[in-house]
Amino acid sequence: MTTHDELLDLFFENALSKEQEERFHWLLKNDIVFKEAFEFQRTLKTAVTLNERQKLKESLRQLEDDQKAKKEKVVAFSWKSYIAAASIVLVFFTAYQFWPKANNPDELFVENYEIFPNLVAPQVRGNNDEELKQKAFEAYEMTKFEQAVQDFSNLIALGQIEYAYFYRGQAYMAMGQFEEAQSDFMQHIAMNEKNLIVEAHWYMGLCELKRNHEEAAIDHFKIVSQSNENAFQSQAARLLDALRRK
């Protein structure tokens, strides 16, 4: 017999047989767990659709802005060519100064990646948990990343998760283990309410970039560039420009 998950998949594939459809509707009426699973996926479909539409619409708005900017440049050039020429030189100079010099994902990664500093380690030794925390951050600062991963994992096992996922992610990233790093940054976002959330998005974006998932990287950099309270805002905006120019 078809499982509940299979029935849901078939529903969203629009491929239920008549018999399956009858069972599907019966379950919706009589099985609350099935109904909840269905409602979740139906809401998810709406959310995924709206996100995809928003992404595409933003790219069209960007195209519109680019076209507008091009037209304005042409008008300005014919009107006051000397001023325009000087502006163009200035634009190029500014671009040279501030824009990333490459648009290859690997090169962009190298230009933008820098390990996040230790902003957490306790200064004074205390109980065992505090000692473990200090040990983890010491290993981290001394670039003993394998040891740091081990120590942060121990902290997590003890339930001392504050910042542990974020910095274990940093250690993984420093060792080139980007998938593990991303998973930790995601955990950090899921578990902390305020601190280092935008920063976690920044590093998730860099991991996606390194793994050649440029669209996913763009999503994270957008979040960073739109948030005012972080050190990576302008860097993220420049990266977005570089990726869009590709």
Binding site: F12, T46, L60
Partner: protein, 182 residues
């Protein structure tokens, strides 16, 4: 009834693959014509542009879903029909005027619209949570729920050898999302 030219079929194939150059080129090709057409409805220019962008988004979405594979009219006609549908929808919302016309004659448009103001809190939360998801979840969820691809098709696209592996990966993605929401 007209059938697709090979050039149009090629454009539709590129739209299906999400080719950004093709999207930009179609957007620019019909932009001014749509503006003139929409001028008949005495709409503000910014609103017309917004509707045109929504229409292009709908065109791309339906191409991805395979709804344009056997299109019986030109891309332009299809795009303008969606645009007209959207103009009427806005006018109906804003003016409460009832329209009885032959708007969709000859062109079948399937496009679900959502009232964003009435969007549930759950949708909002899920939209944010989705932005924290990495790969392969983003791609799998987008292919299944947005592009409405069947799991068998997704297997081919993402080069999975075993459907059960894909199903359990999809299931892990849903669990991750639930964890992010809890």
């Amino acid at each position: 009834m007209a059938t697709q030219t090979s050039e149009e079929a090629q454009k539709i194939a590129l739209l299906k693959s999400g080719d950004s150059k093709t999207i930009s080129s179609i957007y620019m090709e019909y932009r001014d014509a749509f503006g003139k057409f929409a001028g008949n409805y005495r709409l503000e220019q910014t609103l017309v542009l917004d509707i045109y962008q929504d229409a292009v988004v709908a065109l791309c979405e339906n191409a991805k879903k395979g709804l344009l594979d056997n299109l019986k009219c030109s891309i332009k006609t299809y795009l303008f029909s969606i645009g007209k549908f959207m103009i009427y929808k806005r006018l109906r919302t804003e003016t409460s005027i009832e329209f009885t016309d032959e708007l969709m004659q000859g062109v079948e448009i399937a496009y679900e619209t959502y009232d964003e103001d009435a969007e549930q809190a759950k949708v909002h939360k899920l939209r944010s949570a989705l932005q924290s998801m990495g790969e392969p979840c983003n791609t799998i969820l987008s292919l299944f729920y947005f592009e409405e691809k069947k799991l068998d098709e997704i297997m081919g696209i993402l080069d999975y050898k075993n459907k059960d592996v894909l199903k359990s990966q999809k299931s892990r993605c849903l669990n991750k999302l639930k964890a992010l929401l809890s």
